[in-house]
């Protein structure tokens, strides 16, 4: 078994970089939509309307308890039956693997983020909301200006965990042929027979991606909780 690492400076290396670009794009779009879905469902569940509760419960439990890769297959293969025919014809010509993967990943991780957001909202004392409403702030104002700014701070660490999980789960999109990192590894293995080198490179890239995300999370957390350490410092000064 001879390993030739120099091949990574040739065409395989370029393929891996192309895959990295697609992975990043896929992760960014999915994260964006997953966050919106999670925010919406998290807030609606926190408000606890009796009418929407069963729907929200069903969506969140169903999405969280089924494998993401099966969800990807579901959205990809069902697209021709779910979408109107003209739209499907348009999409078929430009390829809709990427879109299907974005939909599946954002629905899957949106459910997790919804639970995170709801937990964050629950961690804010009810009095904050009641006080805001008593001061005649409307519901959106109370949410947007009083509750969410406090809650979002609390949920940064679990949200970063979700972002890392989502980035790792983008590798599942190769099941429907999205040309992301893992797909490019298989491609290099199949056509250039340099599987091990490519796999090692791809592994290292994923590892670095996850570490960078964790680093961003840590930085965001320190930045957003400055006021807490400041308050702690004030408290020590007072107690002294």
């Amino acid at each position: 078994m001879k390993l030739d690492w120099t091949i990574l400076w040739g065409d395989p290396g370029l393929l891996v970089l192309k895959g990295l670009a697609v992975t990043l794009e896929l992760a960014a779009w999915s994260l964006f939509w997953a966050f919106l879905v999670g925010l919406l469902f998290g807030i609606v569940r926190w408000l606890g309307f009796r009418l929407t509760e069963p729907i929200c419960w069903f969506y969140i439990e169903f999405a969280r308890n089924t494998p993401p890769v099966v969800q990807i297959l579901f959205w990809y293969f069902s697209a021709s039956y779910i979408l109107p025919e003209w739209m499907f014809r348009e999409l078929r010509d430009i390829g809709y693997e990427f879109g299907a993967a974005v939909v599946a990943l954002s629905m899957y991780h949106g459910a997790f983020i919804a639970e995170v957001i709801r937990a964050g909202l629950n961690s804010i004392p009810k009095g904050q909301y009641e006080a805001a409403r008593a001061l005649s702030l409307s519901l959106p104002q109370a949410l947007g200006r009083v509750i969410l700014p406090q809650a979002l701070r609390v949920v940064i660490p679990p949200l970063i965990n979700e972002a890392t999980a989502l980035t790792k789960n983008t590798s599942l999109a190769m099941a429907i042929g999205v040309t992301e990192l893992t797909y490019q590894y298989k491609h290099i293995d199949n056509f250039l027979f340099r599987g091990i080198e490519a796999l090692a490179a791809v592994t290292v890239i994923y590892f670095i991606l996850c570490l960078v995300l964790a680093g961003i999370g840590k930085a965001a957390n320190t930045f957003l909780s400055r006021h807490i350490s400041r308050r702690a410092a004030t408290a020590t000064i007072i107690s002294e």
């Binding site: 099966v70 069902s78 796999l199």
Partner: protein
């Protein structure tokens, strides 16, 4: 909707046990559950060892454990499955599909469980450990009989969540062609061609029922006396 074409007796048989009765090759839900239960069992063992190592004060113990946890948690499981399946043959080792997925899944989940178990160990009051040591129990005995049983009870919710993820993760096996539930579903879908919604909804429903079952089971165990009766015989 063509539910009648998807929900035939033959299709259900393949979804549940694969080709066990006509070719002797088992698969489907049976294989998914075997894979899931085996990997849950092995990864809990691995996670307990790593978790104890990680919460030790000796660098010789916690540094390797931390490196392992960091390395495994920051790589997609699919990549680990490929490592376990495509790389050993290059060095003359032939691993079966089942073993590859089992090994990858166990190593991956072990890293996550180690962190959960470390948290559980930290939550056990330190007086418990000191009392056990004062009574003359060795460090190993203390962990096994005093700290870990209490830790396991505290982290049941987190463990249950992780076990559900393990069952979900067995679905990746279809990407190397192991005939578990997802692969069988995909084959049925490919054969019918006209009923993808029904086929994949069926798959999702089966996974949903199994995973909800596991969550409910852990919730039952969160009753202290029931847990003690089942696992500690007190």
């Amino acid at each position: 909707m063509h539910w009648d074409r998807v929900w035939t007796a033959a299709n259900w048989e393949r979804l549940l046990v694969g080709d066990l009765f006509n070719r002797g090759e088992w698969g489907g839900l049976l294989l998914t559950l075997t894979l899931g239960v085996l990997s849950i069992f092995l990864s809990t063992l691995l996670g307990a060892i790593l978790g104890v190592m990680r919460s030790s004060a000796r660098p010789a113990l916690w540094v390797p454990a931390m490196l392992y946890i960091q390395a495994l948690r920051n790589v997609p499981l699919l990549i680990l499955v490929f490592w376990a399946y495509f790389v050993p043959p290059a060095f003359g080792l032939n691993t079966s599909k089942f073993t590859s997925v089992l090994v990858a899944l166990t190593l991956f989940t072990g890293a996550y469980l180690a962190e959960i178990i470390r948290g559980g160990i930290r939550a056990v009051a330190s007086g418990q450990l000191e009392a056990a040591r004062a009574l003359g129990m060795g460090p190993f005995e203390t962990q096994l009989w005093v700290v870990l049983p209490q830790a396991f009870f505290n982290m049941l919710p987190a463990l249950g969540g992780r076990y559900v993820v393990s069952i979900k993760n067995t679905s990746l096996a279809f990407l190397i062609g192991l005939a578990e539930l997802t692969e069988i579903g995909k084959q049925i879908g490919a054969r019918l061609m006209t009923a993808p919604i029904e086929v994949y909804l069926t798959l999702l429903m089966i996974y949903f029922v199994v995973n909800r079952g596991i969550s409910s089971a852990t919730r039952l165990l969160e009753n202290r006396s029931r847990f003690n009766r089942l696992f500690l015989r007190v």
